[in-house]
């Protein structure tokens, strides 16, 4: 029957646009994936061709697993990413809570101070950081990486989380105080669960640069036992000769875990958005 709110035409158009963009977004990823299953010859002969009997090859994956301990690298990357994210979220949320909840002298100043970090590339502080890690004996430990990433992630985390925390009802926190919750418990048991969507946002923003970083693993933790996946994949990029099969395979495998993390966080994110918890 005829309807007053005719939407079918626009809906089709919307799907068409979104579909087109989705193809644009996924096409390069698709190119990488299919080529990781082909011989080098086939990659460059016909980069768009799907692997077939003739061109199918797992040589890249074989090389990756032969060359270096990829399970270990993977584990290192995972530890660094997850622990850094946890610390960023925890420390960031704590600081954001202090800034959002309490009025104290220097509140604004502290907020600005914590924001400075997003404006300077941390790379230039490399030597000082490395010196510090050397003197504390943290070089070639995952702790060094975790500390750097945590520091690097904090400014944005504090910025985003404090915005959200201002939105948590004062009454709720006061109800907690009446119930005898300490300020720490209010933070931990009331506020944190309520800003989960914001935490997910922060996690998504920080996860990617950490997972993909090459620089700090190279400088702070190049040893075999603490190599990250990205650094491990560098083995295949030589000065003159690059093993494209292996690079593509390693990188394809490196996409998976971030995808999984993203899916986990984005569910929180979207749930938060759609339940109206986000303003």
């Amino acid at each position: 029957m005829t309807t007053a709110r005719r939407i079918s035409g626009t809906t089709i158009a919307a799907h068409a646009v979104l579909m087109t963009y989705t193809v644009i977004a996924l096409f390069p990823v698709f190119v990488i994936l299919i080529n990781s299953f082909k011989t080098r010859r086939a990659i460059f002969r016909d980069p768009l061709g799907l692997p077939n009997e003739e061109t199918f090859s797992l040589i890249g994956y074989q090389t990756v697993f032969r060359q270096g301990d990829f399970v270990l690298y993977f584990q290192n990357s995972m530890i660094v990413t997850v622990v850094s994210l946890t610390l960023i979220l925890l420390f960031g949320a704590m600081a954001a809570f202090a800034l959002a909840e309490y009025r104290f002298k220097g509140n604004t100043l502290m907020g600005l101070y914590l924001a400075l970090g997003i404006m300077i590339p941390i790379r230039i502080g490399t030597v000082a950081i490395l010196e510090m890690m050397v003197s504390t004996g943290l070089v070639n430990t995952l702790v060094a990486l975790i500390l750097v990433y945590t520091a690097q992630g904090l400014p944005l985390a504090v910025f985003i989380l404090s915005e959200f925390m201002r939105g948590v009802s004062d009454d709720l926190k006061n109800a907690g105080r009446m119930d005898g919750l300490s300020e720490y418990q209010i933070f931990w048991r009331l506020v944190l669960p309520l800003v989960r969507p914001a935490m997910a946002t922060v996690a998504v923003f920080n996860m990617i640069p950490i997972w993909n970083d090459l620089w700090f693993p190279l400088i702070l933790a190049p040893a075999e036992e603490v190599k990250t996946l990205t650094l491990g994949s560098q083995v295949f990029i030589g000065q003159f000769v690059t093993d494209w099969n292996a690079v593509l395979s390693a990188l394809s495998m490196a996409i998976l875990p971030v995808m999984v993390l993203y899916v986990i966080f984005s569910r929180q994110l979207i749930r938060g958005i759609t339940s109206g918890a986000v303003k």
């Binding site: 939407i7 979104l18 000082a128 993203y262 984005s266």
Partner: protein, 307 residues
């Protein structure tokens, strides 16, 4: 007898702030400012000597340095402009489409469009170089298929196109972020306001222009300033695709690559932490000015609406 209640020391504030402030100060601020300090020194005969602002004088006064600096700054501005003009509008448009009610598969679209954002620069650089390469035929072939072969150019290799091309690749990679943020902002617009618009005859495009867009302006503002900061700190993509010399002929050189090259050295060029720090300080200044302009000039005009 009015008893003034004694002010309590609120230790918990310190406890809440301490971990973040300590880690951040020790691992970020201290090294950064320790390094920026180098901008005021120079190395002469293996000796570090205080030269005041002389490095800056060199950077802005010496033709060789200043030419590179302004070139990088100009490229950076263009890089930023493309993001503002392409990435953010596309992000907004996609978010607007995604937020239309009762749209099916929206979760799929959302995730798919976000995927490039989680890829590493190595992948992005490789994939796009492969696609755009004149040799392997993906882009020329596809243009050929729709009869537009004559439009094909070796984009990454031509001075006039390379920067724009890389900016667009970066847009492709990051469009998910404005999309997500705008999507959240759009969802928080109450249905009733849109329905009021519907009763007023404001539907479809005009609903977007007249109601939704003004209401998400604050979010757009935040995204713009985040884009600004990210763009003026950008480095990796250009470096991954064009190397530290940001070719062809420095046409893709931005402040990040210029700073990197100067600070850490490149090929036969030795690293000069002092000049490098001077460039980094200049970048810091530019970003600070941009952010302050936003905070004090623009943001106060963007009203945050309570629904």
């Amino acid at each position: 007898m009015p008893a003034p209640s004694k002010p309590k020391t609120r230790w918990h504030i310190a406890v809440f702030l301490a971990p973040a402030v300590l880690v951040y100060t020790a691992v970020m601020i201290y090294p950064l400012f320790n390094t920026l300090r180098l901008a005021l020194y120079a190395e002469v005969d293996q000796q570090r000597i205080w030269v005041g602002l002389q490095n800056f004088q060199t950077l802005f006064g010496d033709a060789i340095w200043s030419e590179q600096f302004w070139n990088a700054l100009g490229n950076n501005a263009w890089f930023f402009l493309i993001h503002m003009l392409v990435q953010n509008p596309i992000g907004i448009a996609l978010a607007a489409l995604l937020s239309s009610p009762r749209l099916r598969f929206s979760a799929f679209y959302r995730s798919a469009i976000f995927i490039p954002t989680i890829l590493s620069f190595v992948i992005v650089g490789f994939a796009w170089k492969l696609i755009l390469s004149p040799i392997w035929g993906i882009a020329p072939g596809m243009l050929d298929a729709i009869g537009l072969k004559f439009l094909y150019q070796p984009w990454l290799g031509k001075e006039e196109y390379a920067l724009t091309t890389l900016s667009l690749v970066s847009v492709w990679q990051y469009v998910g972020i404005p999309m997500m943020l705008i999507y959240a902002a759009l969802l928080s617009i109450p249905d009733e306001i849109l329905e009021a618009g519907e009763c007023d005859g404001i539907t479809g495009m005009s609903a977007f222009w007249k109601i939704k867009l003004p209401l998400i302006l604050p979010s757009i503002g935040i995204i713009s300033v985040l884009t600004f900061v990210a763009n003026f700190n950008a480095f990796d993509l250009i470096y991954a695709a064009q190397g530290a010399l940001a070719g062809p002929d420095f046409s893709t050189d931005i402040l990040g690559t210029f700073m990197y090259r100067t600070f850490f050295g490149f090929q036969l060029q030795l690293g000069d932490p002092h000049m490098g720090s001077a460039i980094a300080s200049a970048m810091f200044g530019i970003i600070l000015i941009g952010v302050c302009t936003y905070l004090f000039g623009i943001q106060r005009r963007l009203r945050n609406y309570q629904f």
